[in-house]
Amino acid sequence: MSKIGVFVCHCGENISATVDCAKVAETAGNYDGVAYSVDYKYMCSDPGQNLIKSAIKEKGLTGVVVASCSPRMHEPTFRKACAEAGLNPFMCEMANLREHCSWVHEKGEATTEKAIDLVRILVEKVKYNHSLSEIKVPVTKTALVIGGGIAGIQASLDIANTGHKVILIERDPSIGGHMSQLSETFPTLDCSQCILTPRMVEVAQHPNITLYTYAELESLEGFIGNFKAKIRRKSKSLDEKLCTGCGLCTTKCPAKKIPSEFNEGLGKRTAIYVPFPQAVPNKPVIDRINCTYYIKGKCKICEIVCPTGAIRFDQEDQIMEVEVGAIVIATGFTVKQPDFFPEYGFGKYPDVITGLQFERLASASGPTLGEIRRPSDGKIPEKIVFLACAGSRDPAKGIPYCSKICCMYIAKHAMLYQHKVHGGKSYVFYMDIRAGGKMYEEFVRRAIEDDGVNYIRGRVSRIYEKNGKLIVDGADTLLNAMPVEIEADMVVLATAGVANEGAEELAQKLHISYDPYKFFAEAHPKLKPVETNTAGIFLAGACQAPRDIPESVAMASGAAVKVAGLFSQDELTREPIIAVVNRQAPPVYSSCVGCFLCISTCPYQAIEKEEIKNRNGEVIKSMAKVNPGLCQGCGTCVAFCRTKSIDIQGYTHEQMYTEVMALLNEY
């Protein structure tokens, strides 16, 4: 006979405001097999956990149902408490009274009834729970960091400095990311490259870091501590060992008019190129789409001029497999591109540019060597307009969220413009100025008060070109929405920060969740900001949401600590929620008939054939066997098994049918 304890939590008032917790506990107390039932204000608090522990000891409980929040929140907490009191942790189940009941229904009898049902389901289930022991798995103490922007760089260095190996892959020819494109950074106006490039070099030289640029994740298998990643190293058409980075090839390449990605299309590059002078590694790649040789079959000038014979036209992509124990994703973000703002003529008028393009204009390493010159004719704009929220906070364009970084970089842009163009006039159209951050508000005030940037509260309706000027039609909402028309020479759109192209595919390769905007989802919005729902995979930087540099760096260090924590253990324990094939002593052995449908359906190749032999060594039966190290517990095999010979611990047939029956057969 089971002796089950039911512990109903009020969660302050989160549950008790709509659910009659006392009634739930009282009703549950009358169920068969329930030896103890109680309600308490905060079950997860120390006294609450002690309540459970002492009940286990004093009443000799064989099972525990905690009726509180989502098991995704506190299942580990309560299972640990049970274990401490000597009860097998897998004899503890949780009924989700908060997220699935009290928070989503109005106060009333129906809500309390539902709560009672939810408790009853789990009381019945727990009767069929079995004591399980955790599985131990080894840890490969190498981390894979995906993305070599500031977040990926920081995470790599932090992990490497704890003494663990790091493999850093970057899709572009150089690490550095968006930060390497920036001119100066807010709120200190220190030069972005000056603070970034030493870090880039450190990455390249660190003995614990292996860097692969021009490389992308091809696929991923395995689980925490034991991932197997396939990495595609795209062909650089170059023997990197021979290349000295002299750069002769890039000066001689005849295809010189390719828009430079690094300069956001404002400058040109050659087909064999190093994206920027400070690139790491400082060795070129051939962009095959634009290379004359790959298009027309002849040219090979780079090969002719290369003093070390490093060019390899026939080099192919390489797929390499690495084993890693943890992964940090730091793939960053991108900005919205043309066609998204037809009313602003973006893509149509060359002098309507993005904030990132403005960074290149303002950067000393940029196409204008840091002079603000408009793309169309190279003139210095006498009047410049900055538009905040170009795409952000615009549900009609599919982006309801605030991109967060724009208010600050617009203030910086306007300030840089005022510093560089004396007598120039700058205007900022904004809706709200969101300058939360250390020294941020002060920075914006400086732009307005000291540098004379004109802030106008209102959104611009449209921009059109007339007699060489860009006519900006706005309104001043602080002056009875009075129309404001500015004849500008250049317009900068603070385009929304959006998820990278391909973010969805990457998430699917990694089996992590993403939000509706394709930003990767953290495991908990407050308490697990760098974890994902997949154990062993962590997030850093703007791949999770638009972030500025300090936040990206902080997040990267956070992720690095998580990885280091993981690598501080030689073995990990895993939940024993895995499949098992039933098996008994001879002469029955198992009901498995050896059809092996399970083998064909298992996504983890965790099932193999096992031959049962008699004493004489003759095979008497061929049946399925689950490798507990590989099984991830999805249960696909269970639904496939024709003889119900395979079952999944924690979600057994008995348990699931019991839940259904308990739910509908009211007491």
């Binding site: 989502s70 229904h105 999805c634 029956m661």
Partner: protein, 149 residues
């Protein structure tokens, strides 16, 4: 007279829909209280005999929901569930089980509002259909009164 309150059982996966329903909660979006969620590791685990068992036990409607295609935590469980559902549905149609009472859907961990919408829509449509007393006939049980509180 009180409106008919259908009993809806939801079979959901742990990673997407269960988490999505958690998000409905953290977002405080209200929905009909007729639904009871049963958690599975993956929709691929859901043995469809469980659906028949639920009807057998007196459920009026069923929701099966997991991760969107390609988003399965276990790569392909939801594809198996979908394929199985196609087979199962035609079997139900053949045997006379009312498939309008089964709602098959995808709700991701980020779609809290969608979960509320699906529950509300299912409750409304099953309420329209009325109590599922027919099932007993289809399953050839001796007819008996099924009570609906």
């Amino acid at each position: 007279m009180a409106e008919f309150e259908p009993k809806i059982v939801a079979f959901v996966c742990n990673w997407c829909t269960y988490a999505g329903a958690d998000l409905t909660g953290t977002s405080r979006i209200k929905y009909a209280s007729n639904v009871r969620i049963i958690r599975f590791p993956c929709t691929g685990r859901i043995d469809y005999m469980l659906l028949l068992k639920a009807f057998d036990e007196g459920a009026d409607g069923i929701i099966v929901s997991g991760c969107h295609p390609n988003d399965c935590h276990y790569t392909s469980g939801n594809f198996h569930a979908r394929r199985r559902w196609i087979m199962f549905r035609s079997l139900c149609d053949f045997t006379g089980i009312d498939t309008e009472r089964i709602k098959f859907s995808w709700v991701s961990a980020a779609e809290g509002a969608k979960w509320a919408d699906i529950v509300n829509a299912t409750v409304a449509s099953v309420r329209e259909l009325g109590p599922y007393t027919e099932y007993k006939k289809v399953a050839k049980y001796p007819e008996k009164e099924v009570s609906h509180g």
